[in-house]
Amino acid sequence: MTPRTILTFALVLELTAVTISDHPASGVATLLLTLLAAGYAWSCWAFPFRPCPSCKGSGRHVSSGLFRGVQLCKRCKATGLKLRRGRAIYNALHRHRTRTRRNR
């Protein structure tokens, strides 16, 4: 927890509070959205991968033909996992940051 994250967090909370007091309806919506975002962020932190949408996490495709041939999923290279979009964005940001820091 850097001071900057804490500050951002506090700002978001305050904004939410202000919005709730002014326009209760949109305020509740904002609160819900914030909670949702937080939940998604947490899942990106705790479980960076989600089941592969193509093979539903099994890592293979079972054809519905007569011989029921099994084919490994090419999308997830048979792991059945796919990086969450949020995590991918975070990774990109992180890489960018370390790169610029090194070049400083």
């Binding site: 960076p48 991968f49 997830c76 290279k77 792991t79 059945g80 996992l81 796919k82 990086l83 995590r87 991918a88 990774n91 992180h94 890489r95």
Partner: protein, 752 residues
């Protein structure tokens, strides 16, 4: 810079410089490197570690250097023969110093014992406080323990690896790691659960069955557990126990610190050189422990002398961040003027405990051998031989000058043969402890005191002439160097015993309007010729200038001890001409450096020495012992024996009565002939003619004649012949007659 290197030569300084030098070498034909070798005479001497050579070659681009390049520093180890290397090694003592004597060992053991007793008591008193601290911290400890267990169960230490896999989008690896994590968490959950269940069951059983174990065990177990949790919850920077002893500040001295300290001195030469070359200050040896401190040998940048640094000792101490009394820079003019030896002690010299003085008991010593005088900055004893020297002690008032003189005179008093002439011209009685052993003693600067001193000095000059003659006439095998030896001094018949004259505030003598000239003349003579004949003159003054210590005296003095002085003139007056310029500066002492001064002339090199602090009661105790030794040896004479000379008495050279009383010793009556023999031995110069008389009868007649003016007659006395051991009646004298005559004469003098 933490490595040691030899003198930085032009070639091995920075890479930039080196490449420039190398370029020159390449442009010129081959001989260039040889010239470079010759150009710097130091280059041949030094043998730098081979690593530096390798670096040098690398930095300057070994690739384009083809053909032969002569390196300034030749590869290979030092080519000195191994025998020579062995010879130059220093043999460390087999038994450490603190165990050498039984006394030292006992002292060390007592000290160690006391140390641990103190530590135990200190913590014993604080046990309740420690318990309270642990109790307060135990809840936090429990929380932290729970958190740590949680982290362990959830395999948090593996998280960075998994996160890394996610970062690389390495799903395969992540899958593997997740499986591993799952397996771990499963087993760890089981283990933790089992332990928790066991503990809970145990606690419930212990609670429900009252007499299973004694209650004190329960309490002790609970306390132990709470203590363990409290310890676990203790932050690293707030320890439970406080420190019983504060360790000495054994902060290491590093080259960085030394360089920084030298750069803050504001010496232009150092700062300019350092700005051009960060390694302009060279270290000629590793910084090592040396006694209770660190020693650094530094080569200052070219053109800077050690004296410039010595002058700024206080700034150097500030730069090093140590008390002034810890920082002792020394020059080594014998190596070169830019060599600085910096010794940084762990403790302030004026506060450090001085080891026990070997002479504190006042036992008999030999003045012709070195005797411990004081400790140097490293705490080691510095010894000096008081014979064959003439000394000057100088300092501003209240810095321990008189104490130093008193110490020297005490050392002198410990040799029972020595004859002490003590003159305290300040008149405060600081030298009064020496009264019981002094041959001549006066405190004060009244006219009669000065006349007494002058008479004594005249007698001393005559004595010196007599001694020169005696020494000259001695056979060469007895006196090979034409000076007194300890064997010669022991022979009563020769009368060459040590004579030590100590004068405090000697300027009173030399500045006297009437006698000043004569005092100066005699003292100069004594300083020049006295040492070889066994006469030692030690002068102390608080205003060392050409008036208070006449130039011929200060030029010829050998032992010089300079405590804090105010400026260059007094410094050079005490330590000798141009000593200030050579970096021997007693001006850098602070006012807390009492009894600390520069000792010159009697040791190999000028040393900073702290003399022994002997307070008046200890001095009196030492003197009492000295007096006892003298009485046993039959060496108690002069003032101490109640036979002080009156002023005109010395001029008349009439000491017969007092001499007689002296040789009587404890006897009531004695034969005339044995008295005469003793007189000749006591004062060979005065009674030389009597000693040449052929037989006992002649001697008896001579003594009878000499005693006639005092209306003392000789008569038959029973005694034993020391040669044959037979008793006989011969002509002799009774002691009471002599004593009566002496009192009568003294009474007349006083009235007249």
């Amino acid at each position: 810079m933490t490595t040691t290197e030899n003198h930085p030569t032009p070639a091995e300084s920075t890479g930039g410089d080196a490449s420039v030098t190398d370029n020159v070498v390449h442009l010129r034909p081959q001989p260039a490197p040889e010239q470079q070798l010759d150009a710097d005479p130091r280059a041949e001497i030094e043998v730098a570690p081979p690593v530096i050579d390798a670096e040098l070659v690398d930095e300057t681009g070994a690739g384009d250097v083809t053909g032969s390049v002569t390196l300034v520093d030749q590869p290979g180890g030092d080519s000195v023969h191994w025998v020579r290397r062995l010879r130059e090694t220093e043999r460390l003592p087999i038994v450490p110093d603190y165990l050498k004597t039984a006394q030292e060992a006992r002292a060390t053991a007592v000290w160690v014992g006391k140390h641990y007793a103190h530590t135990t008591a200190y913590h014993g008193v604080r046990v309740p406080l420690y318990a309270l601290k642990l109790a307060v911290r135990s809840p936090l400890g429990a929380l932290m323990l729970a958190a740590a267990t949680g982290r362990w169960v959830l395999d948090m230490e593996g998280r960075p690896v998994r996160s890394g896999a996610a970062m690389r989008q390495d799903a395969e690896m992540y899958l593997k790691l997740s499986h591993q994590r799952d397996a771990r968490v499963r087993t760890r959950l089981i283990v933790t659960g089992a332990v928790l269940v066991a503990v809970t069951v145990g606690v419930i059983v212990l609670m429900s069955v009252p007499d299973l174990v004694p209650s004190w065990i329960l309490w002790a177990g609970g306390a132990l557990m709470a203590a363990a949790l409290g310890k676990y919850g203790t932050p690293a920077d707030q320890p439970v126990t406080s420190r019983a002893v504060v360790g000495a500040q054994l902060q290491k001295l590093t080259s960085d610190v030394v360089e920084k300290a030298l750069m803050v001195l504001g010496i232009a030469g150092i700062n300019q050189a350092m700005s051009k070359n960060a390694r302009a200050i060279g270290f000629t040896a590793p910084i090592t422990r040396d006694g209770p401190g660190w020693r650094a040998e530094v080569d200052l940048p070219a053109g800077v002398t050690a004296a410039e640094v010595l002058d700024k000792r206080d700034k150097l101490a500030s730069g090093l961040g140590r008390p002034l009394g810890c920082v002792w820079p020394e020059g080594r003019p014998d190596v070169h003027p830019g060599r600085l030896v910096l010794w940084v002690g762990d403790q302030d010299m004026s506060k450090a405990r001085q080891p026990a003085w070997a002479l504190r008991k006042g036992e008999k010593i030999d003045l012709f051998k070195p005797q411990p005088f004081g400790t140097d900055v490293r705490g080691g004893w510095v010894s000096l031989t008081l014979m064959y020297v003439a000394g000057i002690i100088g300092a501003v008032p209240r810095m321990g000058k008189t104490f130093t003189l008193r110490e020297l005179l005490l050392i002198a008093a410990m040799d029972p043969r020595s004859e002490l002439h003590t003159f305290d011209l300040k008149g405060t009685g600081d030298l009064s402890p020496l009264e019981p052993v002094s041959y001549r003693y006066r405190a004060g600067d009244d006219p009669e005191d000065l006349e007494y001193a002058l008479a004594d000095l005249r007698a001393l000059r005559d004595e010196m002439r007599r001694r020169t003659k005696v020494i000259r006439e001695l056979p060469k095998d007895l006196c090979p160097e034409s000076k007194v030896t300890t064997e010669l001094a022991s022979k009563k018949s020769l009368g060459l015993h040590p004579v030590v004259v100590g004068v405090d505030e000697c300027q009173v003598w030399f500045e006297h309007p009437d006698y000043g000239k004569e005092f100066e003349e005699i003292c100069t003579d004594l300083v020049k010729r006295g040492p070889a004949t066994g006469i030692v003159l030690v002068l102390a003054t608080q205003r060392p200038d050409s008036k208070s210590i006449p130039t011929p005296i200060s030029d010829n003095a050998i032992l010089r001890f300079c405590l804090k002085v105010a400026g260059q003139v007094p410094n050079d007056m005490v330590l000798g001409t141009s000593s200030y310029r050579n970096g021997e500066r007693a001006t850098t002492f602070s006012f807390t450096d009492k009894g600390i001064g520069l000792l010159k002339g009697v040791t190999d090199e000028t040393k900073t020495v702290k003399c022994v602090y002997i307070d008046a009661p200890s001095a009196e105790k030492i003197v009492a012992r000295c007096r006892a030794v003298r009485v046993t040896a039959g060496r108690l004479t002069g003032y101490a024996a109640g036979l002080d000379a009156a002023v005109d008495d010395v001029e008349a050279a009439d000491t017969l009565l007092s001499d007689l009383l002296n040789v009587f010793g404890s006897r009531d009556k004695a034969w005339s002939e044995s008295l005469v023999d003793a007189l000749v031995e006591l004062r060979p110069a005065a009674y030389a003619a009597w000693g040449e008389l052929s037989n006992g009868a002649a001697k008896a007649t001579q003594l009878a004649a000499a005693l006639k003016p005092f209306s003392i007659s000789t008569k038959q006395v029973w005694g034993t012949d020391p040669a044959t051991g037979k008793g006989a009646n011969r002509m002799g004298v009774e002691r009471t007659h002599i004593a009566d005559a002496l009192t009568e004469r003294d009474g007349k003098r006083k009235r007249g």
